[in-house]
């Protein structure tokens, strides 16, 4: 804002004694010259040589202002002057000084005068000595640079007379904030747009104050050539830029370019179409569709959309669309059955499509489920398929018209301390990345699944419970996520999945990997673990893997030992006699030293074990058989069930149930019938 200060009363004195004289109707050396008139002037008829002849106004006091401190960015001193002959030209240099007399160098910019009245100006951005101006806006305690200002001029050269009819100052302010307390000469230009910035100016003393406001927008409107019988169209080209738009369940939507200024983004112009951008529209979910920004209400109904490529001018609001008495949980752009872009929204019972801008209809897609308040928190279209969270750790994939469940809750699910609800999901490279909020008492985690894979890998898991992961964002190799009240980041390359090939890849200081319970192929058969072997890379005394195990029960882990060399560290022993187990579970705990790019690598791990069934006995006996014994053996060998056998010959002793495995014999007929010696091979078929 510019403030023009012209003399309002007697303001001058001739500092060149005897040099300057009054002329015309001047009553004193220097008097009020408020109009752009040259009828009165100050005159020096003997400006000569190189001797500077200077003249200054009286002080222009700070009392003409009544306002809060502001910043003066520059002072421009103006004068109207001429000389009376055209011999050796005289010059004029405009200057200023404070009340102490400190002033700008006089010879800094001399300008040649002519014999005609002309306007001369000089801009100053700092006071003498490089100090900024505080004139007129601070108490008179600033010392050197003063708080009162004088304007003046210096003339020299030429043996001619010099006329100066006017001298005034234009002070350019920034951030002015004042209250108008007296009538001022204000000429407010007409506005063609509503501006909600109240600007009120005031001065105590009437001065020439001409504020102006200039908007930097450029609008080019081009009317196409009108062809007879065809209505013309208006093509509007505007300045384009990127807006950040944020929506809220209870505060509508806002927009900003750089965060320094904010405005309401979406409006409901329905109540008064003639006054666009008057009623902020509510809405929680945003999506860009068909070059418009769309806004969906948090529940029941309400859909608002902008003009094409313009979120400033006008918005259209559909108060009763979509009409669905349920909470809406997300909105995103996907594809319809014809592979055309389609707008979708999620609710707690499924994914819906929105046919907007012409038809305004909506309906369910193939992805629908029973009402689940944990469902539908995120949807996305990624690599040709739709994905929607379906509650808990469930994710539905819609491939064409086939719906598949692909969430981390498949197979045996997740450990109890990792259970929770998926709250966000993004696509990175060929990975689907989801955030699981573990809720109260549980840890939260980030997991990823290759779109061509079947299962999930943990990217990150919180060290503590009750620090929910709430949001995900990926940019240029870095995954950002919200955890608790912090934002954290980790490296997640989309181009190089094999992180150990990236020399700059930084890793966590330690981790844990728990293997499945191992029963071998012989469940319910005793086994004995003997040794654990591993093939490794890059293991040292500081980059190593500790191994733990537990047997049969989910008890505390027992430390087995450490692999700290590569490629084949010494096997770890489960004690010299081995460790018996029905099932065994292993846990590896890799760790690194202080260098964040060093890490131990496990290529494989091998458990050496024995399957040790209970003993199955077999016997071989020779029987001196007569015909009755032969008959009994014949019956026994044909028996289907097992035979009780007392190898001690004492029926009160141990009994074994056996089957006759072999019965070689030699026999012959006697007067008592068939007799002979039978070799009987007996064997148990299962443990006693």
């Amino acid at each position: 804002m510019d403030l023009t200060v012209r003399p309002a009363s007697y303001v001058g004195s001739d500092t060149n004694s005897g040099g300057w004289t009054r002329s015309g109707g001047a009553a004193s050396d220097w008097e009020t010259l408020r109009s752009a008139s040259d009828s009165t002037y100050l005159y020096d008829g003997t400006v000569s040589g190189s001797v500077a002849t200077s003249f200054y106004t009286d002080c222009i006091d700070q009392d003409i202002y009544n306002g809060s401190p502001s910043t003066i960015s520059k002072i421009t001193v103006y004068a109207r002057a001429k000389m009376d002959s055209n011999a050796t030209p005289a010059t004029i240099a405009l200057t200023e000084r404070d009340a102490t007399g400190a002033r700008q160098p006089e010879l800094l910019n001399h300008q040649n005068l002519t014999t005609s009245w002309a306007e001369y100006e000089q801009v100053f951005t700092t006071h003498d000595g490089g100090y900024g101006y505080d004139f007129g806006f601070y108490p008179d305690n600033s010392g050197f640079d003063g708080s009162e200002l004088q304007a003046g001029f210096v003339v020299q050269h030429g043996t001619v007379g010099v006329f100066v009819s006017q001298l005034w100052i234009v002070i350019t302010h920034e951030y002015i904030n004042q209250t108008l307390t007296a009538v001022a000469e204000l000429n407010v230009p007409a506005f063609t747009r509503v501006v909600n910035n109240a600007r009120t100016l005031s001065v105590d003393t009437p001065v020439g104050l001409n504020p102006s406001i200039v908007r930097g927008a450029t609008y080019g409107r081009v009317f196409d050539t009108v062809i007879l019988g065809i209505a013309p169209t208006i093509n509007r080209s505007q300045n384009l830029g990127t807006w950040l738009v944020i929506a809220s369940t209870d505060s509508g939507s806002i927009r900003t370019r750089d965060g320094s200024s904010w405005a309401v983004a979406a409006y409901d112009d329905t109540p008064n179409p003639s006054l666009p951008a008057a009623n902020p529209a509510s809405g929680a979910w945003l999506a860009q569709f068909d070059n418009r920004l769309t806004l969906l209400s948090p529940e029941n109904a309400g859909f608002t959309y902008s003009l094409t490529n313009d979120i400033i001018l006008e918005w259209t609001h559909k108060a009763f669309f979509p009409n669905l008495p349920i909470e809406f949980t997300d909105m995103f752009v996907g594809r319809d059955a014809g592979n055309l872009p389609a707008l979708n929204f999620l609710a707690h019972d499924g994914m819906y499509y929105l046919d907007v801008f012409e038809n305004f209809v909506f309906g369910k897609t193939e992805l629908n489920w029973e009402y689940d308040i944990t469902s539908g928190k995120k949807g996305m279209y990624f690599k040709g398929n739709h994905y929607a969270t379906s509650g808990g750790q469930g994710i539905y994939e819609l491939a064409g018209t086939d719906a598949n469940t692909i969430g981390p809750s498949s197979d045996d699910g997740l450990p109890q301390d990792s259970a929770g609800d998926i709250v966000d999901m993004i696509g990175v490279g060929y990975w689907i990345v989801c955030a699981i909020n573990g809720s109260s008492g549980r840890k939260s985690s980030i997991m990823k699944r290759h779109i061509n894979g079947n299962h999930w890998h943990t990217v990150y898991k919180t060290a503590a419970v009750n620090t929910p992961i709430t949001s995900l964002f990926w940019d240029s190799g870095t995954l950002y996520f919200g955890e608790g009240t912090n934002v954290k980041s980790l490296a997640l390359s989309s181009a190089m999945d094999n992180v150990k090939l990236l020399p700059t890849y930084e890793v966590a200081s330690s981790g844990e990997l728990i293997y499945p319970w191992f029963h071998s192929r012989f469940e319910s058969v005793p086994k004995v673990a003997h040794r654990l072997r591993s093939t490794t890379q890059d293991m040292t005394s500081t980059e190593y893997v500790d191994w733990y195990y537990r047997v049969d029960q989910e008890t505390d882990w027992t430390l087995l030992g450490r692999f700290a060399t590569s490629p084949a560290p010494t096997a770890l022993s489960f004690a010299a006699a081995g460790t018996q187990f029905e099932r065994i579970q292993l846990k590896s705990a890799p760790a690194r030293g202080s260098t964040t790019t060093n890490r131990p690598i496990t290529e494989s791990v091998t458990l050496e074990y024995e399957v040790v069934p209970e003993i199955i006995w077999k016997w071989s006996i020779n029987i001196d058989a007569d015909k009755e014994t032969i008959a009994a053996l014949t019956t026994a060998v044909a028996a289907k069930t097992l035979l009780p056998f007392y190898p001690s010959g004492d029926k009160s002793g141990d009994v074994y149930y056996v089957r006759i495995a072999g019965l070689p014999r030699s026999q012959k007929g006697t007067e008592f019938g068939q007799e002979g010696e039978y070799k009987v091979d007996l064997t148990m078929v299962t443990e006693a």
Partner: protein, 147 residues
């Protein structure tokens, strides 16, 4: 004094014995005939269970042969490749002070958006941009008319 054993009982019949009863242990497995290159399973006397590639992912609590490339759970361990190593280092970006409901990149900076807290990350600190926008749910960038 125990008498000399001269019989055994089999299937309820006492059978006179010639000589002694011979005991032996029946081998639990039949002799194997290998007609191809031996594998780890043929290595005697112990059996071997090897885990190498775990790219099948987590979520398997009980092992089975067909799911030998699966594991139960992992924390800060990268299992997505044929070998396993530590997971990525996590860095905290200052103290944002609210639960970030949305993170987005705008104007060359990472912005975090939470309840009454909208800030941009300068690279070393959060620069607050707005503190009176409650319960945000969504954020998006839109390229359009700037004025």
């Amino acid at each position: 004094m125990p008498s000399v054993q001269d019989a055994v009982w089999l299937n309820g019949v006492k059978m006179p014995l010639v000589g002694a009863v011979t005991w032996d242990v029946a081998p639990p497995f039949p002799p194997q005939i290998i007609d191809s290159e031996p594998t780890e399973e043929n290595f005697l006397p112990v059996s071997k269970q090897t885990w190498s590639d775990l790219r099948g992912g987590g979520g398997i609590e009980k092992w089975s042969p067909e799911k030998n490339n699966r594991f139960w759970e992992a924390t800060d361990v990268d299992t997505s490749q044929a070998t396993q190593t530590l997971g990525p280092l996590v860095t905290t970006l200052g103290s944002f002070g609210a639960a970030p409901m949305k993170i987005i990149k705008h104007d060359g900076q990472i912005w975090a958006i939470g309840h009454n807290a909208i800030s941009a990350w300068t690279g070393s600190a959060w620069s607050s941009k707005k503190t009176d926008f409650s319960n945000p749910t969504d954020a998006i960038l839109f390229y359009g008319a700037s004025s």
